[in-house]
């Protein structure tokens, strides 16, 4: 007998695409509003499940700050069937949204401390939410260092926004690329090369690290050389969450479900876990 469930956790709300912007050849930014002016009310670092019926559903990190309440933004790289379909969406179209899910950056704990942000490649996407949250509440945080790295200058996402961070007097900014082009005037090298130069008091520093899986090990090594305690090194781990509800098993890291217990973990939570980093 088939019955309708009223409490299903899989029910979606219809998000309306307000604006889209091509960021690079592969990445596109979507600004989405929930019905009736409802706020998503997320924490920086959380994600939503985004659906197009008939195509599928995927977990996507939220890249706007929760201080922006009327709508939220997702930056989506075209890699698979669903993301290709999402790239076809135009303003006015609708997508299915459920969430936000998971544990984001512990911004309340981080208040009053110095913040070091380390972003590699597409890792800037969830970090942008945190960076803009900190900038919007700048007085609540100590010194802020932002270190970004990417393959080549044209891969840098949110270039215009990055430029405004760079110009701010209340943020220390540095950036590096693996391979430069003739116009590039900045650093060349891996992101790890930027860390030794940062002047910091390890006991009052929280580091937020997001990047491709291969990056973590090396960045964390550098941060530990700086004596930052493991519980103040925050990482966001990428896994393919199918349900987002701590059930389907795809994102399991030992006894944690990345979708519910993460995606943001402190390094001391996960350093001994098999296959975490």
């Amino acid at each position: 007998m088939k019955i309708q469930l009223k409490d299903s956790l899989y029910t979606l709300v219809r998000g309306k695409v307000l604006r889209t912007r091509q960021l690079t050849e592969l990445e596109k930014l979507f600004e989405i509003a929930l019905p009736e002016g409802q706020s998503l009310d997320h924490e920086p670092g959380q994600f939503v499940q985004v659906s197009i019926f008939g195509v599928g559903e995927a977990p996507i990190s939220i890249c706007s700050s929760p201080t922006k309440r009327d709508s939220f933004e997702l930056a989506i790289r075209k890699v698979g069937r669903l993301t290709r379909a999402l790239h076809e969406l135009e303003p006015g179209d609708e997508v299915g949204i459920r969430g936000p899910y998971g544990k984001g950056f512990p911004v309340t704990l981080m208040e009053g401390n110095d913040i070091m942000i380390v972003g590699g490649g597409i890792g800037i996407v969830p970090l942008r939410s945190l960076i803009n949250y900190i900038i919007d509440n700048r007085r609540d945080f100590g010194k802020v260092d932002i270190l970004l790295g990417c393959k080549t200058p044209k891969d840098m996402l949110f270039g215009d926004e990055v430029e405004t961070w760079q110009k701010r007097v209340d943020v220390n900014f540095s950036c590096t690329v693996d391979r430069a082009d003739p116009d590039w005037k900045g650093n060349i090298g891996l992101i790890t090369s930027l860390i030794p130069g940062v002047n910091l008091d390890p006991n009052r520093t929280f580091a937020a690290v997001v990047g491709p899986p291969v990056m973590y090990k090396y960045v964390i090594q550098e941060l530990r050389k700086k004596q930052i305690p493991d519980r103040q090194i925050l990482v966001s781990l990428e896994r393919h969450m199918k349900c987002g509800l701590g059930k389907c098993g795809h994102c399991q890291i030992e006894h944690f479900y990345c979708c519910q217990d993460g995606p943001v973990f402190s390094f001391d939570q996960i350093k001994d876990l098999e296959g975490a980093i």
């Binding site: 309708q4 019926f53 299915g96 491709p212 990428e238 199918k242 059930k247 389907c248 296959g275």
Partner: protein
């Protein structure tokens, strides 16, 4: 607690009356050593002395394939969250499989709760059946301490020769014994016979792995780097049989299925296996358990460590299905024995 007896002469009558009122599923012989839970109408269709069924009764709690959302392209209003469920009586569930259902209950009622699972759970009546003898060399229920009834059922049957000893464990079970008046009160001699069986079982159900199950998590943690995992990886065919037949494996995958009108369709979930190559793959192409050895290790650790850390419960019931079904003859008991030897060194 209420204890009754059901004489063997009345057993057939009981099942027939039960099947008139309810959808009854029981263990049915399917040739060779294969058994399966199937709809039954009479006692004769069932084989009560059976080795664990190919697929455990988890199939009634989380079907292999289930649709949980239905949509229409004009979807906002027309999206429906659905569950397919019908009232069932499971007759003849062994204690190992009851332990499996108890483990699944924890996973799906842990918040956020899975209402598809929970609405089916509510619809199922469980009638357990005690194993008087060890089913085969693959089982390790005595090691996991799942060879004796320990709750999780509505009624529990123990075959004591010319009668069944019946423990009424819930009101749901009591309603059934009240509506089918074939039961008699259990007397002192019936209890004695039950104790006699339990005493005999204490001798035959021995822990031949030789590990106290409480020590398994420590043994695993200390043999993380063992070459035994590579040996398993070399043997494993990554077919996923072991996880499909496991009474506590609950992982699933989700996708959409479009109807031929291209306007309507459904979102479905289907059992998935951590032994599949793409299981832990992410969008960038990276897989967190690329090697078969890592995937087998994940399975063992999940049963004996990760879930113990998370839910304070072992997710191996000792049913032996994974070893019985493995085409590459990966044997859970043998593997644990080897790990124990290595740990002891």
């Amino acid at each position: 607690m209420k204890n009754l007896i059901l004489s063997k002469e009345r057993f057939e009558h009981f099942i027939s009356l039960l099947a008139k009122k309810h959808n009854v599923m029981g263990p049915v012989h399917k040739g060779y050593d294969n058994f399966s839970f199937q709809p039954i109408k009479t006692a004769a269709e069932m084989t009560l002395k059976y080795v664990p069924t190919i697929i455990p009764p988890k199939k009634y709690f989380m079907p292999q394939y289930e649709s949980f959302l239905e949509y229409d392209k004009t979807w906002g209003e027309n999206m429906k969250a659905v569950v397919e469920s019908e009232a069932l009586v499971l007759f003849g569930v062994h204690t190992c499989d009851i332990a499996g259902i108890k483990a699944l209950n924890i996973v799906f009622s842990d918040r956020p709760r899975d209402y598809n699972y929970l609405s089916r759970k509510k619809d199922v009546t469980i009638m357990g059946l005690e194993c008087n003898e060890y089913c085969d060399e693959f089982a390790s229920c005595a090691m996991m301490n799942n060879h004796l009834p320990d709750g999780g059922y509505d009624l529990f049957f123990t075959d004591l020769g010319d009668f069944f000893f019946v423990e009424v464990s819930t009101l749901k079970g009591d309603v059934i014994v009240e509506e089918i008046p074939v039961f008699e009160e259990a007397l002192g001699r019936h209890f004695k016979e039950l104790q006699g069986l339990r005493a005999r079982k204490a001798k035959t159900f021995t822990n031949e792995v030789g590990i106290e199950y409480q020590h398994v998590p420590k043994i695993l943690s200390d043999t993380k780097e063992s070459l035994i995992w590579n040996e398993l990886g070399d043997k494993c065919l990554a077919c996923g049989n072991c996880t499909n037949v496991c009474p506590t494996c609950y992982c699933f995958n989700i996708w959409d299925e479009v109807n031929l009108d291209l306007k309507t369709g459904k979102r479905v979930r289907m059992w998935d296996s951590c032994q599949n190559e793409g299981y832990a793959k992410v969008a960038g192409g990276e897989s967190f358990r690329e090697e078969r050895s890592a995937r087998q290790k994940h399975r063992f650790f999940k049963k004996f460590k990760y879930m113990v850390d998370r839910y304070a419960r072992f997710f191996c019931t000792g049913c032996g299905r994974c070893s019985r079904t493995c085409m590459a003859q990966i044997n859970l008991k043998e593997t644990l024995k080897k790990l124990k030897e290595e740990y002891a060194r």
